[in-house]
Amino acid sequence: MSETHDRVEQFKQEISEMKVKDPATGRDRVWLRVGVALMVVGLGVAVAAYFPSHAGNDLEQRDAIVMALGGLAATVVGSALFLRYSLAGFLRFWLARFVYEQQAQTDRLLGAGPEKSPQEGLPRLNG
């Protein structure tokens, strides 16, 4: 019994030390939006950099190249963030659906198969 008491005390301790995220902040959603924003802005910056890149001045051209590379980098980072936070949600549902379909498929197979022996729980042919 004291072992269980220790377990309960440990449980209380762990719960009290747990970092509770404020659900109102919705950090995942914020990062998803940041990802989308970076993708769009980065692409915009890269396209905008195209025009000054035609300048005759070498320095201006270099600035434009740096700007374009920065924009592309922002797009890549944004895409990564977007994939990370949208795929996590999608895969969670996909896994749940997969498990459910497996369960349904097994139920169908069992329903179509031989009867089970109530004593042994093992398959038994009718008759």
């Binding site: 309960v8 449980f11 209380k12 995220k21 197979l109 729980g121 093992l122």
Partner: protein
């Protein structure tokens, strides 16, 4: 101390409200039965308590700490275990593989198996059998064995008796009583009250998403027929 406390919980699915301000406590070391007719909101209450379903209002407190928004896996890792309705086992894996799935908690498979087969010797005889081919009672035993393998401090049981013969249900509730004697706090949801009331310290009757009555099992016996039949 209350190991679980639900305060003014409201919850629903899409626009349909299911719970309308549930207040419920599970004191440390006790068994609380949540009874009520089909559709009363019992399973939703358990899902809210386990962190699987977000409440639209109200607070969920575990060991005195507000845990709204905490992912269910975080609560499970610390010792809150839900054994869901429909058992939640992997039907296409063997008994051993199902048990092995619990080793992610850091417990060795040998220890998990020892605990499981001590309580459910029948599972030991079926170790290489695919879980989907077990009888309903054995599947429920496997679900319980997996849950108990995590060494929970707070156990949530959903419709243990669903689809099982009365003799198997009695056998399972003997195990529940044994687990409760070991000091694990339990909240058990049941539609069929007679067996669970023999194990519970307290019971609550849920009707139309509201707690209609709370008390000792003996005090509630008369209210049950009214709750179920609306008489």
């Amino acid at each position: 101390m209350n190991l679980l406390e639900l305060r003014e919980i409201r919850a629903g699915y899409d626009r349909i409200d299911v719970l309308f301000g549930i207040d419920l406590v599970v004191p440390e070391g006790s068994v609380v039965a949540l009874l009520g007719p089909n559709g009363a909101g019992k399973s939703t209450t358990l899902r809210v308590a386990a962190g699987l379903h977000p409440p639209t209002a109200g607070d969920v407190l575990v060991a005195g700490r507000r845990v709204n928004g905490v992912p269910p896996e975080e609560l499970a890792r610390r010792g809150l275990c839900l054994i869901p309705e429909g058992r939640g086992i992997f039907p296409n894996l063997t008994v051993r593989e199902n048990l092995r799935m619990m080793s992610y908690t850091g417990v060795k498979l040998a220890d998990i198996e020892e605990r499981a087969f001590d309580r459910f010797p029948r599972l030991g005889e079926r170790i290489v059998q695919t879980a989907g081919t077990l009888s309903g009672g054995e599947q429920q035993m496997l679900a319980m064995a997996r849950g108990l393998a995590t060494d929970p401090a707070l156990l949530l049981l959903d419709e243990l008796s669903m689809g099982l013969a009365p003799i198997i249900v009695e056998e399972l509730y003997e195990i529940v009583a044994q687990v409760a004697r070991e000091g694990v706090s339990i909240l058990v949801v049941e539609q069929f009250a007679s067996t669970v009331l023999g194990v519970a310290d307290y019971a609550a009757i849920l009707v139309h998403g509201r707690v209609a009555r709370v008390g000792r099992p003996a005090e509630l016996a008369d209210d049950l027929s009214e709750a179920y039949l609306g008489a």
